[in-house]
Amino acid sequence: MTTTPTLSDQQKKSLDDILARLKDEPGPLFPILHAIQDELGWVPEETVPAIAKALNRSRAEIHGVITFYHHFRTHPVGKHMVQVCRAEACQSMGSVALECHVKESLGIDYHGTTADGQISLEAVYCLGNCALSPSIRVNDDIVGRVSKERFDEVIAELRSAQ
């Protein structure tokens, strides 16, 4: 279990600002959750009561939404997010072997973060780059035709960029 750190004053202020700005949108929960995750890097459990209050919904409902969607994270992650596509097109071009290499070279499994806090690893199901499989996503960018060597280069670049 990861212990949930208390929100800093600045984080609390961000949360209040987000809620004030978005709570009156039609169907406001998604924009709010995205804004929180973009701002804080994840959606801390402590934000749930405030969201529930602002939207006049139960905490259980808010919790239910957060945990339904793969994208919303309830724990902090590394500086860079690396996602490996597991879907069919990538499999047809050897992504199963690539997955093994990725896990082995980073020393972590899916949902894990490297010990230096640099890289978090997730699986993803299609990045829309299926003509240039296998694909990975690094933060907001896609990398295509990823060989083991290419993967190592990408990671080295990320680590040296600091």
């Binding site: 998604f30 969607y69 240039l132």
Partner: protein, 516 residues
């Protein structure tokens, strides 16, 4: 003289280094004192040639590819700005056979224009459809779409005009247009290509839909995995509003249409229309029971047109040139064109927009150039993760909704994933069930539990445990899921499994005669 040079900003082009290529071209031109105007266009869809650089010359646009940053200096030496010859020369872009043989209607502008230039857009027939729609009565717009024979391009192939007509007839104080841009299927990227390369086309299509049914508000639900699409859509919406093509009082007509982009959160099930609506409303993406149809009680309980990106993106040309024009493409009840997406183990992967009626064999070999690995092609999954695995014996069936349905397959959205002879269809079947288990919304039992039981049963078959008995069990399980699931996820996840069992029984350790 300033030369216009095009380097795509398409995600797949950038996945191969287009950003670095573009930067290198700008730097090199500056160094040499050559005047260029760099345009970041969409992709032409010839993905194996990305990053594909184009140069405007008096003879037309000349292409080079694939161009990496380190090729750039050499290209300038060869006279890039004049369209000079180089080892990477591809000649005139329009003459490249892969492109020349296509029938591009929905993708007519993609890769050609600057996605953020209203001038480029209108120069290439942009907003012609909208202008025509503004002069028509709502029922006549719907009639044009009905006459075109357009059917839902997301995969279900429901006639778009009929859906629109239902919403038109519904009485309500507010109606909505919702675009399903949750393109989650492996082997598809056409929605992404259009949203990145010609976002105004989708905006125009949705605005026309709004005029047709009396909706003043639209939402585009775009998957989180497409950050570049979301960025481009938002930017294009802003430009269109400023130019008066969107928002209040469109082109002085007194009609309003507002458009909002909503970002998904990585749930495959939200590609199912009712689950998508739940998601926009801020709920768990649980599939709704039908009826009521979304056309009558959709988003926020109001009448809603919900269409895929390709369906809405085909509307502008249908209005501009007439339903009759569009209908003249295709065969049987499959009218118009479909943007086929050639993916997986293929030498020449990319987008091929053609009228319905061509065959898989033409796409795989005439366009695709055979497998990337050089090994024989053994199976093609058509229509996404819920589509059947098609064996070579069926490569000559015309791509038509009804013809495919006859053999237990589906054309769907036209995504093809190609596998060579190293594929293990038992493993792929296991994956189909695993994927369904991961992405099931959990509302109905056949999908939620059936998918997990499917994985277990296939594992037993692979391990050789009571194989005959377990194959019978798997078939029965598939039957339950097919007939008992609430939506297409559980209802179609068995398609890849059943087709693999039928056409590739040897992968499950049984001989062909035992499978029949």
């Amino acid at each position: 003289m300033t030369t216009r040079i095009y380097v795509p900003m398409d995600s797949s082009a950038e996945a191969m280094g287009a950003k670095k290529t573009a930067a290198a071209i700008v730097a090199e031109a500056e160094k040499r004192g050559e005047k260029i105007e760099l345009v970041r266009n969409g992709s032409r869809g010839l993905y194996w040639l990305e990053p594909m650089v184009e140069v405007e010359t008096p003879e037309g646009r000349v292409a080079y590819g694939p161009v990496t940053a380190k090729d750039v200096a050499g290209l300038f030496d060869a006279g890039l700005t004049k369209g000079g010859k180089h080892a990477l020369s591809l000649g005139l872009t329009e003459e490249i056979p892969y492109l020349k043989k296509q029938e591009r209607l929905t993708f007519a502008r993609v890769g050609i224009i600057d996605p953020f230039s209203i001038e480029d857009y209108t120069k290439h027939e942009g907003f012609e459809g909208l202008k025509k729609a503004l002069k028509l009565a709502p029922a006549d717009i719907v009639k044009e779409v009905t006459d075109s024979g357009l059917r839902g391009r997301g995969g279900a192939a429901f006639p778009t005009g009929i859906k629109w007509n239902t919403v038109l007839g519904a009485q309500a104080d507010q109606k909505y247009i919702v675009c399903n841009a949750d393109e989650g299927d492996s082997g598809t990227f056409s929605d992404r290509m259009l949203m990145e390369g010609d976002p105004m086309c989708l905006i125009e299509g949705m605005t026309i839909a709004g005029l047709a049914v009396g909706a003043t508000k639209g939402y585009i639900y775009c998957r989180e995995e497409y950050p570049h699409s979301i960025r481009n859509l938002n930017k294009a919406i802003e430009i269109c509003v400023k130019a008066g093509y969107l928002g209040k009082n469109i082109l002085g007509s007194g009609k309003d249409f507002d458009l909002i982009v909503r970002e998904g959160a990585g749930a495959y099930i939200c590609g199912e229309e009712t689950s998508l609506l739940e998601s926009v409303e801020g709920n768990r993406g649980l599939v709704r029971f039908k009826p009521p149809l979304p056309a009558l009680q959709g988003l926020f309980g109001k009448p809603t047109v919900i269409n895929n990106v390709m369906s809405l993106g085909s509307v502008p040309i249908i209005l501009a040139r007439g339903g009759e024009f569009y209908k003249n493409y295709g065969m049987g009840r499959s009218r118009g064109t479909l943007p086929f997406q050639l993916t997986g183990n293929l030498k020449h992967g990319g987008l091929v927009e053609k009228a319905f009626g061509l065959t898989l064999r033409e796409l795989l070999y005439d366009f695709g150039g055979g497998s990337a690995s050089g090994r024989p092609i053994r199976a093609v999954q058509v229509g996404g993760p819920l589509g059947a695995y098609v064996p070579e014996s069926q490569f000559d069936i015309p791509l038509d909704y009804e013809e495919y349905a006859k053999v237990g397959a589906m054309v769907g959205h036209g995504g093809l994933v190609v596998f060579d002879d190293t594929v293990d269809l038992a493993q792929m079947s296991r994956y189909a069930m695993e994927f369904c288990a991961i992405e099931s919304c959990g509302k109905c039992t056949p999908c939620r539990i059936g998918s997990t039981r499917g994985v277990e049963t296939i594992d037993k078959i692979i391990a050789g445990k009571e194989r005959g008995k377990n194959i019978a069990l798997l078939n029965s399980l598939c039957d339950t899921m097919l007939n008992g699931s609430l939506c297409a996820l559980g209802g179609m996840a068995p398609y890849p499994v059943v087709s693999a069992l039928k056409h590739f029984p040897e992968d499950f350790g049984i001989d062909k005669t035992a499978a029949a």
